[in-house]
Symmetry: C2
Subunit: 315 residues, 2 copies
Amino acid sequence: MKPVCVDAMGGDAAPDVIVQAALRAHESGIPIVLCGPEPVLRPMLGGVELPVLHAPHTLGSGGSAWDEIRERPRSSVRVGLEAVRDGLASAFISCGSSGGVLLESVRTLGILKGLARPALAVSIPRGESAPLILLDAGANVDCRAELLVSFAHLGVAWSRALGHQRARVGLLSNGVEPSKGNEAIREALDRLASSPLHVVGQIEPHRAVAGDCDVLVADGLVGNVMLKSMEAAVEIVRAHLTDADADEAEPPSHETLQALSWERHGAAILLGVDGLVLIGHGRSEQAAALYAIQAAHRAAQSDARDQLIAALRDR
Amino acid sequence: MKPVCVDAMGGDAAPDVIVQAALRAHESGIPIVLCGPEPVLRPMLGGVELPVLHAPHTLGSGGSAWDEIRERPRSSVRVGLEAVRDGLASAFISCGSSGGVLLESVRTLGILKGLARPALAVSIPRGESAPLILLDAGANVDCRAELLVSFAHLGVAWSRALGHQRARVGLLSNGVEPSKGNEAIREALDRLASSPLHVVGQIEPHRAVAGDCDVLVADGLVGNVMLKSMEAAVEIVRAHLTDADADEAEPPSHETLQALSWERHGAAILLGVDGLVLIGHGRSEQAAALYAIQAAHRAAQSDARDQLIAALRDR
């Protein structure tokens, strides 16, 4: 069983919180290799013999991702992705800047045949039902129709890889009528009409979450705004309910809010690069980082990647 | 005091629920005039002497808004807007299709001088703080930089009309770094840099809601998705908490959820047309429709419109 490579330097609370999460994953039996500056990381392991791939540089979240990766060629992101490329790790997980991870993934691993761009896919929990797969969640903006079409195929392939047949595809929109959406959305729907995919048309956030589709395709800006807007609403509700607790004898159950919060989304997967790459939330605390590592391990243990490649070949 | 003109035929639950809301508004002292087919509406008034502007046609929500208004030239929307244009009503409020209301508003009332397009502005409640003004909430898609810039000016003018000085403007984006957003967003920020507005740059949903800006500018597709995503998250939480109630002795307080739900947003205002036009949610129930009517009345009682025109003239 190959280890999951964890970027110890990615995210607002790195490296402390990420290293703690990696140690807990290791304790639970998930094989782990860390990447980052060894002199910094080694003393944080408390004697646990985790392998560390030394990477002297760290990508920041300021400036352009292009400048970042040019100026820091031996970043933990780069070194971790090379471990995946070279077969030393089954998957790479970072809670760092998605821009840097995206660019380095394309450079290091390459893009699957027939695709123009990879997409970031996120699973939104829906209680008993299968989660909603939203893509692109932020890797690409100003997406033309052609790219939205490829996201639809990628999303359906990923859904099949996760065990769901005949996923219904919706295009995230400002209404459900055929006239709704923007030019790219309407053109993409025209093109998808002749595809073998099950396409339900334009869809609004609440209907997608309620179950009217299984794969929700969006421009990365729009998908990202949907995800972060839902998180914002949940955080507001949680803050209010926590305030309310102080006044109430019987505190309300927060399980629902927990289940809805971004920490439990696990991680986004970068679909379309030739290797398993997951991106956790930059604001990840320890529990969130651990979820992200577990998600990477689960993806690596499944044959998801092979199925994804097969599905793309067959489309 | 001129009456508020209420489109009795707009919205999923029209005319019954809208007429009931109008009757309640009338009882509370708000002067009301209804528009819609008089033979249908008169018997629903239970003898109350509300004036009715007869409109034989009703705009549906199917098909293109252009086709709709061409085929139904004497719709309740058209007749109601003419009442505003002709000085018979202070404001027009409809919970019907925003596309139809938008087009008829531009045709009937015209656009304020110096603007290319009107925008739909929504107030998102933020507890003790002033609400966040989000625009465009769905009237325009594929917005170029120039249009986003005009939304910034409109939003700040509206904020000033509501009594808030020096509103901070953010552009809704998928991250806060200067490289984030799409081409239109980045170009709009370049142009706004030389304006007298207080612009904070790219902003993400949770920071906007938390108070980092007062006016949130977006393409109508993106703004609409933000609003509906927040509503979707709140609806999910509410459904879960309602389920939980059945099992708990002490039900949790739902006031927060109520306050966050779309019903309390009152109504969106169509900024930039030459007259007060408000659009309620198509899914409005009676309480929501009443809120929307009250919002229209409040806007009409203020000198908001004059201030808006003055602010646009001075920019």
